[in-house]
Symmetry: C2
Subunit: 192 residues, 2 copies
Amino acid sequence: MNIGIYIYDNAEVLDFSGPYEVFSTAKRLADNNWQVFLVAEHKSLVTARGGFVVNPHYSFADHPAIDVLIVVGGVHTAELIKPQVINWIKQTADSAKHVASVCTGAFLLAKAGLLDGLTVTTHWEDQADLANMFPSLKVIANKRWLSQGKFTTSGGISAGIDMSLALVAQLISPEHAELTAKQMEYQWHKKT
Amino acid sequence: MNIGIYIYDNAEVLDFSGPYEVFSTAKRLADNNWQVFLVAEHKSLVTARGGFVVNPHYSFADHPAIDVLIVVGGVHTAELIKPQVINWIKQTADSAKHVASVCTGAFLLAKAGLLDGLTVTTHWEDQADLANMFPSLKVIANKRWLSQGKFTTSGGISAGIDMSLALVAQLISPEHAELTAKQMEYQWHKKT
């Protein structure tokens, strides 16, 4: 199982580090063969929001096949107008088993045409913008995350941790997700 | 206000990225002059637990004066036997206004002799070890974090987010900590 998290300059730190912590802790506790990695457009240092500098494991050109694609938020506007990014998200999502967004990562999935007709969510501050920009989506508030088919969208920042634990529950078991939350001393919001 | 977070190979990802998210979001929302940065022994890439690679802003040799020192946990055992690390923690803590540990970072503060006689906490899995290794400490369970004078220790991983919000409440205001938690969509455990 390959879990790839897409990051970019000005991505929100906790949007990717939260899910990374969840999936890598779940892997460690299960002692399974999951690979958890960060993918950026290019294989060079990425400066996330607030100046946090991270080195992606892979670029678009060299990453292994992705089974679970996580697209994170932050200042996502520059990504929204890069055809090569949107095309990569579309192609990678098409062959993935699960596709999820954290926070304003939903804008990138929507731009790739992946969320048409679906009920979705994003950061509370951006829900109106998402609905205006993509009228075919039904954007809702007051859910930490929700799934429709293979697509899962979550609210802002910390909600990505809850969503990632829900994916661990699906991919391994609810008990393993509980164990992971306990290890992280995280109070999991189990209800979407 | 300079907020320095000490990181090292095999540090737990959320132990440093959680506080980084809190302090950098609080800074952005306040539009103040806080500097939030990661410090490592050397100025080269640090591989945190699970293979997450981060580029520290500063090394021991070139960081600015630190007002708030955060020492994180993870696989801390290699750090515990490095005199240059323990000495740096001791010296930096002596001149800092606030000193805090996340998770097993408490072992490093204790090794530097900073917690003698204090009531402290750490990750639930490591509380017995901490008490055995440093008998002069009073190690307690069932608190997300607690402060004594300028020293604050927190429980495991996610508890560092709660503790960082509590520091924001002290450094700016409780209202600003609430605003930061809301921006992060984080359900702050306000009580220690």
